[in-house]
């Protein structure tokens, strides 16, 4: 499905992007704030709930809560390696 801007979107995106509807929790562990911001914006635009951590230790603590449905982890991180 293609919308006005010409990007591919999921058919359910319009519904799922509504506040209160989450398609899942994504835990993003990324130290580069520019890339992180871009990814967070994109994920939230697709209707995901995003938790963002900048360091490996903080990411590990967040991951152990078991809330996330998917984790996106940078290979090189300050503190603990991805």
């Amino acid at each position: 499905m293609t919308d006005e801007t010409g990007t591919n979107t999921h058919p359910d995106d319009a519904l799922m992007a509504l506040p209160g509807h989450s398609r899942g929790v994504v835990l993003l562990i990324e130290d580069d704030s520019a890339i992180a911001e871009e990814i967070v914006g994109e994920l939230m635009g697709h209707g995901f709930e995003v938790r963002h951590e900048e360091t490996g230790d903080a990411g590990l603590t967040s991951a152990l809560t078991g809330e996330a449905h998917v984790m996106v982890v940078d290979r090189l991180l300050p503190g603990m390696d991805g």
Binding site: L64, H69, G82
Partner: protein, 334 residues
Amino acid sequence: MIEAVRQHGIRTPVLVLSALSAVDDRVTGLKAGGDDYLTKPFAMEELMARVEALLRRPDDTRSTTLRVGPLSMDLIERRVWRDGREIELLPREFRLLEYLMRRPGQVLTRSMMLEDVWQYRFIPRTNLVDVHIGKLRRKVDAPGEEPLIRSIRGTGSCCVFLTELFRTATFRLTLAALAAMAGVMVMQFGLVYTQMEAVESRRSTELLRGESRLLAQMTPEHLEYVIRKRATDDMRLVISSAGLFDASHALIAGDLHVWPRGWWRTASPIMWKSTRRKGRPTRYACWLKPCRTGTFWFWAAAFICSRSKSLCCGTQRWLRPSRPFCSPCCWAWC
């Protein structure tokens, strides 16, 4: 970091992002427990597509892992975690827990566990299962944690995870609906009961009024008759419930004081007599009526016949016992 997460028993799919595109590095990432790999720079659409692909995977693609509530078990590494806390188990305890986790919410009896975990083909009288379940429970349910293994008295041990059930919206809805229905039923019952009571009290008041009007109209003789009749009826009831025999045919002369004319010709061989003394309740006594020998034998034969199934005659209706033929009185009579 991924290794650390996996060691805690968390199987969340992981997408690894890296600036390093060397094959070795990708392999390291995947081996550490990563599920997918994406090298920088990447297109956002690809990241989204990969995240969605990871989400589409079933919760646990490794069938070697069992998960029930907060418990997770790795069958290959033979390790168990509860909320990230690793539980050290002996081999037998591990097999027992695996058996329980494969059947969550089921009631499992001791004999089932003896057969499937211990491979016993006979059921010894032993508390082996209880001892192991006790040990397992102490390890699985740390102090302050919600107990996961529950026992039902008389059946054996079972793994019940009611907490999981309570979390589902359907279950909560069903519970709420049931509670609402029960509430409505209680209210309706209350209403009906109050109405019934009101009707009953109104009726009894009316009855009392009617009866007093009737009594006022009665002559003293009629009143005496009514009282005697009621007393006689009550007496019949008492006698029949005493279990001697069906008293509806017996002559109750106790209350009449005067024996009716030709009483020896009456059908029943039993005679009732009441003794009255001042200030004491009336006593009733019964004995066999003096009669001709022939009459006595006739009744004796009828009595015996009435109790033998092969000889069902008309006398049965006369002497139908309200209890089996066991009373010493009946024996004596025979």
